[in-house]
Amino acid sequence: MNVPTLFGLCAAALVGIGLYGLIVDPHPLRKILAFNVVGSGVFVLFGAIARRGAAAGMGGDPVPQALLITGIVVAFSATALAVALLKRLSDEAGSVTLSSDAPARAKSDAGHD
């Protein structure tokens, strides 16, 4: 098995592992983490495809590689925004549950600005 295929299959497994965590784990931070695992799986798959496009003396197709750099940076900014939302939720509600039928402690305890 050649290197791009090996890492391509690894990427497929990473997407599956992350997807499972994203569905099953109710903790929002764990969901963010799982989402990043899915994202990195997609990146590795794309990188393996870029490696297959090696030509003209380049080790990989530079167009997908450049898009990967953009993707990693955008994934970071999305993660930062999600973490900020989560911290605010924890400050406001005193808990981080996403369940819609959880007792709404926020209204009685913390009040609203």
Binding site: V3, T5, F7, L9, C10, A11, A12, L14, V15, G16, I17, L19, G21, I23, V24, D25, P26, H27, L29, R30, L33, A34, N36, V37, V44, G47, A48, I49, R51, G53, A54, A55, A56, M58, G59, D61, P62, V63, Q65, A66, L68, I69, I72, V73, V74, F76, S77, A78, T79, A80, V83, A84, L85, L86, K87, R88, S90, V96, T97, D113
Partner: protein
């Protein structure tokens, strides 16, 4: 030999990914995820994407890891409550079946990828001379697909505005993050005095060398942002209040300069973000120099988070 190393690398990565999902403590899961990010860097090296490897090490592993460590520490003790909400076995089995199906579908796609692989590398090689930049990734990022990079810079800015917009009303305009304690004889303050001179030189070098070799503004800006964060965490300097005009001006300067260069292209070369012949390299450098401080500030401030106090120190 190298095959065995690659198989071992894949096994380690899959193991750490599983750990990041199943570990009981969020903190332990995040630590696993950071190791995972660093090992992914080796995957990028194996896939001949040195620029991507640098980005992964700096942003995917480093900054994201620091962000999640901070969040895991803040949210310690919320895990028990979440565990009570875990879905029942039926949902878990269904989720497992869906995940396995997605993995199998992706794996099948990997195995039937077209031969010969489609590639734009010859196109890039043929037109790279026009950009006068030696690193093909940089010429894609700042010439052939400059629109993506412009939108990426704007996405970063909008994400920071999103983070700031979560500020409670009473702290609006204040300083982001919590006041850090300062221990003059602590190891953190020592490291925060010793490392930045080295880190700043390394960051600027990686930024500058990106025109012709692996490196570039995102990787360089991340290192500079890390040095700034180190100084802030050690309490040697405080984060600026977000109401400061100079701060806001610097945050928009990069994208605005990028758009201005794009408009110059619209007038002089017939298309938005086109470069007039002979001016490609100077314009690319102008964009990179304008983006560098903006990116450093945005990456650093995004990690510090929303303002949690007024603008008095």
């Amino acid at each position: 030999m190298i095959v065995a190393l690659n198989v071992g690398l894949v096994a380690l990565i899959l193991g750490l990914a599983v750990w990041a999902i199943v570990a009981r403590e969020p903190f332990a899961a995040v630590v696993g995820f950071i190791a995972y990010g660093l090992l992914l860097t080796l995957v990028w090296v194996q896939l001949h994407g040195i620029d991507v490897a640098l980005t992964e090490a700096a942003i995917g592993g480093g900054l994201t890891g620091a962000l999640l460590i901070g969040a895991a520490t803040r949210l310690r003790g919320t895990e028990a409550e979440a565990r009570a909400e875990r879905p029942g076995p039926a949902t878990r089995w269904l989720a497992a079946a869906v995940s396995v199906a997605v993995t199998l579908a992706l794996a099948a796609c990997v195995l039937v990828l077209p031969v010969p692989a489609p590639t734009l590398a010859p196109e890039v090689a043929a037109h790279m001379a026009a950009t006068e930049v030696g690193n093909p990734i940089t010429s894609v990022l700042l010439a052939f697909r400059a629109m993506d990079t412009l939108l990426e810079a704007i996405v970063l800015l909008f994400a920071l505005i999103g983070v700031w917009s979560l500020t409670p009303d009473r702290f609006w305009g204040g300083r982001p993050g919590l006041r850090q304690g300062y221990d003059a004889n602590g190891i953190l303050a020592y490291a925060a005095r010793l490392l930045p001179p080295i880190g700043i030189v390394a960051g600027i070098y990686i930024f500058w060398v990106g025109a012709d070799r692996p490196g570039g503004k995102f990787q360089g800006a991340t290192i500079l942002a890390a040095m700034w964060l180190l100084v802030m965490m050690a309490g040697l300097a405080d984060a600026p209040p977000i109401r400061r005009t100079w701060l806001r001006a610097l945050l928009v300067a990069g994208p605005l300069a990028f758009i201005a260069v794009g408009l110059v292209g619209a007038v002089r070369a017939g298309a938005f973000l086109a470069y007039p012949p002979g001016l490609a390299k100077p314009l690319i450098l102008a964009i990179e120099f304008a983006l560098m401080p903006t990116l450093t500030l945005i990456l650093g401030l995004m990690l510090v988070g929303t303002p949690q106090r007024g603008d008095t120190p």
